[in-house]
């Protein structure tokens, strides 16, 4: 039987054997792997990819402030499209394959949402044009607020924070404002060891001392240790749930009650809401404030690092303190001193928040509906558990299952192999996968946090599992070279981060002509 008739998936195990050892090219390009210089190396200051209409003659009102020193290279449109197309091809992305970055919820970006956000009625309206001319925008914000409140079971929400970390600031400021209103801002915020860096950074921003709470053997907050630290100085606890080990905090209600008992607040980091959306309402767990990363749970694009959007839901106790602007009864309340803003802690950003993300997130929610969002959580959890189960013997998992939406592994299976978590992750690149989150959470040595999300198919998971098993076997069998220099097959090999930091080059400088430089 010939290979042709089965039409099975080709195996490329013998790839390099038939390729001459070292094909070099004069251009530096390698087939479709094309190198691309910087704009400043390719362009010219007088080249232009925009036809700016002619400028009418007028008497300048610039009053001597004219600029004469602007030198920036430009490109024609064909060059620009090519430049960025070539650059884009050096990236890995969800559109290319499984992107199991734990804590990041790298799910599919629905293309409908991109279309919807570009409707002129959303994309081409000014934040300060008369509110009477944008009733659809106001309604959209109210509708989004309604979905978020209903899904979280919380009575209030603010939409303006620009990302998760901004949402944390928002929630914690409301907490501090509420405490000050009571007459005592208190001094300390309790944060589990496993917390994301933004949590302690946020608490510190507000002038709070950060006290760390250890984790138990099974990867949860140590309730006893926490209770021991609870006193009248504690303003709040910040807990991520499901936590950054991918586990649900079983004692969450007990924790909330204990915090409330000493007059403190419970801030929940909602970065992992994807695991429980439609299944559990944080409001039912005693949460006082929680941000929601629309760019995680609600699929707005990650965009290579933003923009995001971080609405925050609030309990009754904190509702009076929410920042301006907000929509109430169909009206946009934005001005300092406006009715109903007496206790508001103020404003977090100019204008009204990430409208372009609201449109996308609402389209996503409406697409899934209440049934579909529940299914999202279930499939995300199922996919993670499937990975945990299939890999726990080949890799090593610090905690027993079931997990929530992410599967956590540690470095124990690499012990004695000479391969580190980093090496292992880099070898995944050669296999066609983005590495998982590494060395986070800090509570586990050499952590590997795998979050597949619900938008991966069974086949995709199986392929990933097979690849990791095979890498684990390779590591254990002593094939260290495969890992140490990895990735070998990516557009670049490992980059020298030390050199980058030692003498930072943060912008392009014209090359010094050789002759001069030699002097």
């Amino acid at each position: 039987m010939s290979a042709m008739n089965t039409q099975g998936r080709p195996t490329r195990l013998d790839f390099d054997q038939e390729t001459p050892d070292a094909i070099t090219t004069s251009t530096g390009h390698r087939g479709l792997d094309l190198i691309e210089p910087l704009i400043f190396e390719r362009g010219a200051p007088e080249r232009c990819g925009v036809d700016v209409p002619d400028v009418p003659e007028v008497d300048s009102r610039l009053d001597g402030l004219e600029r004469h020193d602007l030198a920036l290279e430009g490109l024609s449109e064909p060059e620009t499209v090519r430049h960025f197309t070539r650059l884009s091809r050096k990236n890995y992305a969800i559109d290319m394959g499984l992107f199991p970055l734990g804590s990041c919820t790298m799910k599919h970006t629905p293309r409908l949402n991109e279309q919807v956000a570009r409707l002129p009625g959303f994309a081409d309206i000014h934040p300060l044009q008369p509110v009477s001319t944008v009733p659809g925008a106001i309604e959209l914000m109210e509708e989004l607020a309604h979905w978020l409140k209903t899904l979280t079971g919380m009575p209030a929400v603010t939409l303006s924070p620009k990302a998760g970390a901004h949402g944390e600031l928002c929630g914690m400021m409301a907490i501090r404002a509420a405490l000050e209103a009571r007459g005592n801002a208190r001094t300390t915020v309790l944060v589990p060891e496993s917390a994301h860096g933004t949590n302690p950074a946020t608490a510190a921003f507000l002038g709070y001392k950060v006290a760390s709470i250890p984790a138990t053997e099974d990867g949860r907050v140590d309730v006893e240790a926490l209770k021991a630290k609870l006193d009248e100085d504690v303003a709040a606890v910040m807990i991520t749930n499901p936590n950054t080990c991918g586990l649900f905090e079983r004692d969450i209600i007990e924790i909330a009650d204990a915090v409330h008992a000493i007059g403190g607040f419970f801030y929940c980091d909602g970065a992992n809401f994807n695991a429980i959306v439609g299944k559990v309402r944080p409001g039912d767990l005693g949460v006082d404030a929680m941000h929601i990363n629309l760019h995680k749970t609600f699929s707005t694009p990650h965009g290579g690092g933003g923009p995001g959007s971080g609405p925050v839901v609030f309990s009754e106790a904190l509702a009076p303190y929410v920042p301006r602007p907000f929509v109430r009864d169909g009206a946009l309340v934005e001005a300092e001193g406006a009715e109903g803003t007496e206790d508001s802690f103020g404003r977090m950003c100019a204008f009204h928040g990430q409208m372009g993300m609201f449109t996308r997130a609402l389209a996503y929610m409406k697409s899934h509906g209440s049934d579909g969002l529940r299914q999202v959580a279930e499939d995300a959890v199922l996919n993670a558990n499937y990975i945990l189960h299939q890999l726990k013997d080949d890799l090593s998992a610090p905690y027993g299952g079931p997990c929530m939406h992410e599967a956590l592994f540690d470095e124990r299976f690499l012990k004695g192999t000479g391969v580190s978590t980093l090496d292992f992750a880099k070898a995944m690149i050669d296999e066609g996968f983005h590495p998982m989150t590494m060395y986070f959470p800090l509570v586990v040595a050499g952590a590997m946090l795998v979050e597949p999300t619900e938008t991966e198919s069974r086949q995709s998971l199986d392929e990933f599992i097979e690849a990791l098993r095979s890498l684990a076997r390779a590591a254990k069998s002593g094939d260290v070279a495969r890992f140490k220099g990895a990735p070998y097959l990516a557009p670049m090999q490992r980059l020298d981060e030390t050199q980058a930091a030692r003498k930072p080059v943060l912008s392009y400088q014209e090359p010094v002509p050789e002759a001069q430089a030699a002097e």
């Binding site: 910087l38 992305a93 959303f122 697409s367 209440s370």
Partner: protein
Amino acid sequence: MRYLPLTDHDRRDMLSVLGAQNIDDLFCDVPREALLDAPVDLPPHASEMAVSRSMRALAGQNLAAGDAPFFCGAGAYRHHIPASVDHIIQRGEFLTAYTPYQPEIAQGTLQYLFEFQTQVARLTGMDVANASLYDGSTACLEAILMAGRVTKRSKAILSGGLHPHYRDVVRSMTRFTGEEIVCADPDPAVGAPGSDTADLMDRLDGDTSCVVVQYPNIFGHIEDFTQLASAAQSQGALLIVVMTEPVALGAIKAPGAMGADIVVGEGQGLSVGLQFGGPYLGLFASKQKYLRQMPGRLCGETVDAKGERGYVLTLSTREQHIRREKATSNICTNSGLCALAFTAHMALLGGAGLAKLAKLNHARAVQLAQRLEAVPGVELLSGPFFNEFTLRLPCKAGPVVEALARQGILAGVPGERLYADRTALHDLLILAVTETTTDEDFAALEAALKGAIQ
């Protein structure tokens, strides 16, 4: 459901691999009483067609700027964004990537961030720029906090020409940080509305960490801050220049050339559409010597194991994911994709294109200003300006703007919208003009304005 690849068959099969009876076995750590046994009270899933229809219905209720003579600015500007920019930011490899933590497979993102930093540094005339912050207003806050770290002082003096939202953000967000914020009052002075350099110099003292001015300011006014910079620096304070209209940098002196220590701004005008206020693009540039106190991500050049040039995120010991409570800022996700749009648009324009575009904006604004100052009862407050200027109307501007909106004209931002509590500013109207504004728009505005103020 179209975004969920698992079929019921897959689900059953996978559960059985796990030895679970049903999905809720996996949710066993959730307190029983908190686990919902039915969907919450929201509509069920819907087809793409149905969702698209309902979103279109909402969008259709709004008056899009492109469908009206349009003169709003005040921190958000309507410029023509080339079609190729939108094409580029929709490339899946950019749109659906994460922060470039794995540089071997993220050179696309990293190289454009390096290009972006270079463009921002050159445009502002500064040494270094970061890889973006959320928007102009939060960048302004971060700049003040950075000045506090640099100078180890905590008093910031804000010009009355600063965008009132920015001022509001700074005051709100420093409520608990120990910074003292001194705000000058906006003065609608004829010939220099919002200008208060002399006053700011008077207020400078040995406790001052920074002086914050806006350029062009909220009323469109521009002036030279060279003297202010020296005055601040001689007191050991920093000069922070805030910009909300990046196109201006094609026509007016760079803040760096005036001696600014930190330049922050809103990059929206050159990157993304108005979008009702967000997402936008925070620009942040500073002198080299303050580098280690900068907030946000930085992309730097390096080499790979083969010696090839490449880029990585660097100096991350300033950031929360490494330094946690000791970080310079808690920012994590920033405005990557908007930075890409900015970089692509700037690449298309180049220096020559930006200069011409800026000249066009200025010339058109001058034309409109001349036209409107000729309207009886209307007073042009602005002296030097770029593409935005302020009028004093013979009546409250808010109702005029509302009346014109009913005629389908978006006439600019009335004083009341920005300064609800300062009735003295309620007869002001701030108008911006860009390359997108036509002569017909001018004529429509002029006619309607005449009608409305009579």
